[in-house]
Each structure stands twice: as structure tokens, then as C-alpha cells.
């Protein structure tokens, strides 16, 4: 597969609940990377996805994918969503209510086109058994998998996901994250994913971009963006969320959720002052000792 980074530079006026905001974003997504897009509601994350997919025309800008020019407002180039063939998974899934699961997934194929890819995708997301059901007969997680499979039928090289897992419970979320990672590996996709979930960011994303008021506030690797101190990345960092803590003498016992499992850590009180229930942290194993960084 050729190296095809997505480059864009977009300017677009937004009407948000807090008044008009001009979005001005320049960004590159490396080929095959997973980028998480985060930030408070109403800063234009969804609009950014729609701009990249071609569903909205920006006031000005340029979007290129590898050699292809998707948008160039100066040269008056604008490729329609149909021409861009981006995989887009909507927040509300946008499944077609009148079609079965199989028909939804096969929707983008032309009449008489080979269906074997559809079968394969249904198998990948474990929906073969439910292929004849209608969307309204499925659970949220199942619907999400249909939407994912449907977005992949045309073998897009770029997959955009708008808070795909926000409506799902924890266990389902993790399973879908696994699907996503599998699919990413298998199909060599470049992924841009809107999410608010720190766990999801650390689990999936190579890079994270934080937006505020239509602008990029910060970007980098997740631990760079979210850790309070910028310690050099020596050794792997583990993301966790504090559930409870118990102080005995000078030792704090913290129960935390790491990778969907509960772990216990014992830390000197000096390191654990900010580790209150609900906070997120990064645990690093340095050469001599473990270091805990509390995230904002």
C-alpha cells in the first residue's frame, strides 16, 4: 500500500450554542495511524469529520489524501462524498431502518456485485447470525458493528468515526475497541476518531488532537497531551482510573481500573496526594521505581 497521509487545512464558520466561531484547523494524519479527536462539545469535531468526508463545503481550505486532491478552494476543486469514498460511522449509526443487516452492509455495492466481501465483514464483526434482522431488532452494540461493517465494504483507506462507542456500556466498548484494532491492522486504515473517553484514547490512539473553539489546542501522543509533567517517555505507560483508596500509615492502597480490570497499587503517600477516586493517571515503570502521573 502506498503511503497516503491525509493533509488538511480548513477554515469554516460554525454556529455553536455559544455563538459564532471560526474553525481554523491544519493537520496531517499519517498513513495507517489512529488519531483521536477530543475536546468539549460544540467545538466543531463533528463538523471537521463532515468537512473531511465532503458532506460540508468549507469557506476555504485544502484537503489532500496522498496524491489525490479532494478539496482546493483556490482552484475550485471539490470532490463529492461519493467521489471521496471515506468510511464514516455516525454517532447515531444512521442504519437504514427499512433494510436488513445484510442489506445495510451490502448497500454500497452495485446490483449483482460480488457479495463475498459482505459475508466476510459480517463474520468479522460476528453478525452472520443476525444478518436477516432489521436494525431496530438489534442492541446498541450490534447496531454499531453493522455501521462499522457497512462503512468498510467499499474498502476505504480512511475511516472517520464520530463518538462511535459513547452510547455503549464498558464491556461492549472494550469488545468494539478490539474489533476496531483488528480491523485497523487487517485493512491498513488511517483512522480519525472523535471521543471523550480517556481510556479509549490511550487504548486506541497513536496521537491525540484536542480542539477548543474551532482551533487545535494541543496535539501529540496521548501521554504527552494528558500528563501534567512532560517526563520523557521512558518505558511503557499504563492508563488507569482510580476507583477507591485507603490510607494506612504512610502507604496508600489505590484500587484502579486498568484495561477493564481492577488492580491494586501500593504507593507512598507522597506520590498519591492527588489520586482521588474518579481521577485518571498514567503509571510508568522507570528503571528503579514506578512513577504515577495524575492526568487532568
Amino acid at each position: 500500500m502506498s503511503d497516503a497521509p491525509l493533509d488538511f487545512q480548513l477554515r469554516h464558520d460554525l454556529r455553536t450554542a455559544a455563538g459564532p466561531v471560526t474553525m481554523d484547523v491544519t493537520l496531517r494524519l499519517e498513513s495507517g495511524s489512529i488519531t483521536a479527536l477530543t475536546g468539549p462539545s460544540g467545538v466543531g469535531k463533528t463538523t471537521l469529520l463532515r468537512l473531511i468526508a465532503g458532506l460540508v463545503k468549507p469557506q476555504s481550505g485544502r484537503v489532500t489524501f496522498g496524491e489525490e486532491v479532494w478539496l482546493d478552494s483556490e482552484k475550485k476543486i471539490f470532490l463529492t462524498p461519493q467521489q471521496r469514498q471515506v468510511g464514516l460511522v455516525f454517532q447515531d449509526y444512521a442504519l437504514f431502518p427499512h433494510l436488513s443487516v445484510r442489506q445495510n452492509v451490502a448497500f454500497s455495492l452495485k446490483k449483482g456485485e460480488d457479495q463475498s466481501h459482505v459475508d466476510e465483514l459480517l463474520r468479522e464483526v460476528e453478525l452472520t447470525q443476525l444478518a436477516d434482522r432489521r436494525p431496530h431488532q438489534l442492541s446498541g452494540g450490534q447496531q454499531q458493528r453493522v455501521a462499522l461493517a457497512r462503512a468498510l465494504v467499499l474498502r476505504p483507506r480512511l475511516l472517520l468515526l464520530d463518538e462511535p462507542l459513547s452510547a455503549l456500556d464498558r464491556a461492549m466498548r472494550q469488545r468494539l475497541q478490539d474489533y476496531l484494532l483488528e480491523i485497523h491492522q487487517k485493512h491498513q486504515l488511517t483512522i480519525l476518531l472523535v471521543t471523550h473517553d480517556l481510556g479509549e484514547i490511550f487504548r486506541l490512539a497513536d496521537r491525540v488532537v484536542e480542539m477548543e473553539n474551532g482551533k487545535i489546542k494541543r496535539q501529540g501522543m496521548p501521554e504527552e497531551v494528558f500528563a501534567e509533567t512532560h517526563t520523557p517517555a521512558d518505558g511503557p505507560a499504563i492508563y488507569g482510573e482510580v476507583i477507591s483508596r485507603l490510607i494506612e500509615n504512610d502507604i496508600v492502597t489505590v484500587q484502579a481500573l486498568v484495561d477493564q480490570r481492577i488492580h491494586k497499587f501500593r504507593l507512598p503517600i507522597s506520590q498519591a496526594t492527588d489520586l482521588l477516586p474518579g481521577r485518571s493517571f498514567l503509571l510508568r515503570y522507570a528503571v528503579d521505581a514506578q512513577v504515577v502521573e495524575v492526568l487532568r
Partner: protein, 224 residues
């Protein structure tokens, strides 16, 4: 009782509904999704037949369709068709008169669909046209049915406009509603009752059929 006025009524209503459906669908689509500012103006104009008394509308259609008027003259020259006192004229008038009854439900039905359905179809490579036919229309079935039934029923019940521009010609423009009026005028109340009864029974049967089919086809969906 002469069944001709009843046939004429149902012929007029079917033809009007058919024509109007073809004409109103693109209009409703445009009204539902366009961001054009002058749209409200068009919406208001379409709604005028709801507000104007039928006799007023009928009078102005009579003026416009008259060969003395440039519109009526133009139609006569181009199509060799005189719209006053003719069945085609009744169809044209009914199309105008029943326009809001077709357009508004269709527009509302399309607007009620989530935008993401359309957008999903576009990103899956389907054109606006294919999206309209294979995504939007199937999901607006209920609205389509409502629009068709309302238009048909409204045309069956139309009186003022038809009386005004039809000229009450037996077998051509004397539809059931006019025939009933006629019989009342002629003090033949028994004949008027017969027409009215048939009209009532047939339209009630149609509505009953349509709504029971509707209930059967589109039962309220409950998520699993």
C-alpha cells in the same frame, strides 16, 4: 341515479393525485432540504389554497383560464386546450387546489428523517437520486400514504372551484359534488341523498382500507 358523476369524481381524484404526486415530490424534497432563503415565500404560496375560499380561487382560475386572458389564450394556442369548462381544466384546477395537501405531508415526512441517513448514503457512494429513491422514499412511506389519501379525499370533496370553472356539463365536468348540489337545487332531495350516500360509503371504504393496510404494514416498531 346516473352513476356518471361518481365515475367522473373518482377519475378526477385519481388523476389529480397521480399528477400531483409526481409534481409535489421534487418540490417537497426541495422545500425539505434547500437552504434557499426565498423558500418561505414558496411555502406560503403553496399554502394559499388552504386559506382562500374555494369560490374565490375558482373565480380567479376562471379569469385566468378564460381565452380572453393571456394565460388561457397561451394554453389554447400551445396545446389546443381550453381549460374552462373542460375535464383537463378541472384536473389543472384540482392540482392547484390540492397542492398543499400533497406537498406539506411529504415535506414534513422528509424533514423528519435524520440527516445522517442521507449523508450515510452519500458516503457509501450513492448519488442524490439513488439516495432519494432507495433511502428516503422507503422511510417516508407513512407520510407518502397520508399525502396521497389527503389529496384524493380533498379532491373528491372539492366543490366550489369545480362548480365555478366546470360549467356543470353532464359527463364532462358534472362531478358528484356538483350533481348533489344540482339535485338539491332541483328539489330532488332523494336523488341528492343517493349520490351523497354512495360518495360517503365509497370514500369511507377507501379510507378504511388504506388505514388498515397502513397499520398492518407499518406497525409501531419497538426496539428489541
Amino acid at each position: 341515479m346516473n352513476p356518471e358523476p361518481l365515475f367522473l369524481t373518482f377519475k378526477l381524484a385519481s388523476l389529480t393525485t397521480l399528477l400531483l404526486f409526481g409534481f409535489a415530490l421534487p418540490l417537497a424534497y426541495w422545500l425539505a432540504y434547500s437552504r434557499f432563503r426565498g423558500k418561505v415565500l414558496v411555502e406560503a404560496v403553496i399554502g394559499m389554497p388552504l386559506v382562500l375560499p374555494p369560490s374565490v380561487l375558482g373565480f380567479y382560475l376562471l379569469l385566468a383560464f378564460s381565452p380572453n386572458h393571456f394565460f388561457g389564450d397561451w394554453i389554447e394556442e400551445i396545446f389546443g386546450l381550453r381549460l374552462v369548462f373542460s375535464f383537463p381544466g378541472l384536473v389543472v384546477a384540482s392540482v392547484i387546489y390540492s397542492l398543499p395537501f400533497m406537498v406539506y405531508p411529504l415535506q414534513a415526512g422528509l424533514q423528519a428523517l435524520p440527516v445522517s441517513l442521507r449523508e450515510a448514503s452519500y458516503t457509501l457512494g450513492k448519488s442524490v437520486w439513488v439516495t432519494f429513491l432507495s433511502v428516503l422514499l422507503p422511510n417516508a412511506k407513512s407520510a407518502i400514504l397520508t399525502a396521497i389519501v389527503l389529496t384524493f379525499a380533498h379532491t373528491v370533496g372539492e366543490f366550489g372551484v369545480v362548480l365555478m370553472i366546470g360549467g356543470n356539463i353532464p359527463g364532462v365536468t358534472r362531478v358528484a359534488s356538483v350533481a348533489i348540489y344540482n339535485e338539491v337545487e332541483a328539489l330532488n332531495y332523494a336523488a341528492a341523498n343517493q349520490y351523497a350516500l354512495v360518495l360517503f360509503v365509497v370514500t369511507f371504504a377507501i379510507l378504511l382500507l388504506v388505514y388498515s393496510v397502513n397499520n398492518h404494514l407499518f406497525r409501531v416498531r419497538r426496539p428489541a
